[in-house]
Symmetry: C2
Subunit: 247 residues, 2 copies
DNA sequence: GGTTAAGGTCAATAGTGTTGGCATAAGGGT
DNA sequence: ACCCTTATGCCAACACTATTGACCTTAACC
């Protein structure tokens, strides 16, 4: 059995599988991502993953404590991809904005995987690297520690929450999404003005809006608010004589 | 078998189960919520639900097309509960704030159920009622339709996204949560200042923050931003002579 | 009261995650 | 260059799961 999982770093003997493939954490995670993309959100099963790898399902338990553990590794992979596509410019607002968009985009690129992992905290290296990066940007911009922590918390939770929500709609199977859209058309768009005046009045505008993500809008309001807070904190430390008259 | 589900409204013959209970959609949904609360997020199974109701599992398919359909009904129940605890005051910001908090709280009261349903759109009556209410508040406050739709979209998605995220951490089993917190203590709090200076510097502040939800903070920034937008739109329509000098 | 079919039950199918035991070959030590 | 140890892949089994088709009882309508 697989009572203990050997950490990837200490793995010595790599015996090829009966069908010839040599396993590794990375290969398993990537194959799992492919399974999710090809077979939908419920398509990641130990048996199917084993078959795709040319290995017995139980072999997976030599690499991960269970499918739950594998799920966390998948989340870590998504975080890593986001970090890889991001580069710092030194301008804190632009950097935070880009980093948030990178995480959001990375999750939406694998919606089924995102749904499974977005609300989990993995505590693995690349996730920690993202956290460290965000705090570094904020503290580097001059936020006092207390403020930096508040903004950091709002920023990361906001980003993950929207990633999960938006991924959720993308992750639906084609039939399910078609059914949802048909439901919208047949339900919301047809509500009589008598009982639902406000939806009826804005139905056309709603239809154009609800397909897009609201993440950008909310992220911008957060960054605006943070910028004001920063200016205020800065003014407290270095008072401008010109503002002295109106305290 | 159950080739077609009879709508609750047209249900005539209510035959008691072998063990004597008389079924109904409402009873099934409530029992399902209890199962989720008592047995955890994976604890809602057809067998167990049937046993709790004193009925054969297959009987459920006379009431719902599948467990997925039941899940949607559960989401509808949570939305309904939120709406029931909310009352309008006429002040748009306070009303939106209270409504958002009500939905958030209603989901967090049944975290396991929230995780299953928060990212689904049910299209059922009470969910539509919430949407109609939000749009009514915004349009009543004087938002032009285009602005009202943008704020509505950000508001509802933000609320549902945070409901799902925050419910996710509450929904963990006691052992899983203990493991997570231990992971935090043993990983984040112990990171050396050499490799992770920013996390190390703020570890104490982080520990105090991460237990709370960031929903309130983000919701307030959104409402603030909306208020500014409203004032600006209002000023365009009814220009104040005092502001005429600085266009 | 007789008739119809709604709705509860039984049995079976095809899937799932996970584990204990076994066997084989990889790599380190000599 | 060989041997030994043990990591690692495989097999079989267990206890579950959702879902469906056939059957049968009894409630409700005429």
């Amino acid at each position: 059995m697989a009572k203990q999982v050997v950490p990837e770093a200490e793995r010595r003997r790599r015996r090829p599988t009966r069908q010839g493939t040599v396993l590794s954490e990375k290969l398993i995670v990537r194959t799992a991502l492919r399974m999710l993309r090809e077979h939908g959100g419920t398509g990641l099963t130990a048996r199917r993953l084993g078959a795709a790898l040319g290995a017995d399902p139980s072999t997976l338990y030599r690499y991960f404590a269970g499918l739950d553990d594998l799920t966390r590794a998948i989340g870590e992979e998504l975080m890593g991809r986001a970090l890889d596509t991001w580069t710092a410019t030194g301008e804190w607002r632009a950097d935070l904005r880009a980093l948030g968009q990178a995480v959001h985009a990375s999750y939406l690129a694998d919606p089924q995987a995102a749904v499974l992992t977005a609300s989990r905290v993995t505590g693995r290296p690349r996730e920690i690297a993202v956290d460290e990066t965000i705090l570094g940007i904020l503290r580097g911009a001059g936020f006092p520690d207390a403020d930096a922590v508040v903004v950091y918390h709002a920023f990361i939770d906001l980003t993950l929450a929207f990633a999960a929500l938006d991924a959720g709609t993308l992750a639906l199977t084609d039939e399910a999404r078609a059914a949802d859209e048909e439901m919208w058309r047949s339900t919301y768009a047809e509500l009589p003005a008598g009982t639902h005046p406000h939806i009826a009045a804005t139905a056309r505008l709603l239809a154009g809006r609800m397909n897009h993500s609201a993440y950008s809008v909310v992220l911008d309001t957060l960054l605006n608010s943070a910028a004001e807070q920063l200016a205020w904190a800065h003014a407290r430390r270095h008072p401008d004589p010109a503002d002295a008259r109106k305290p």
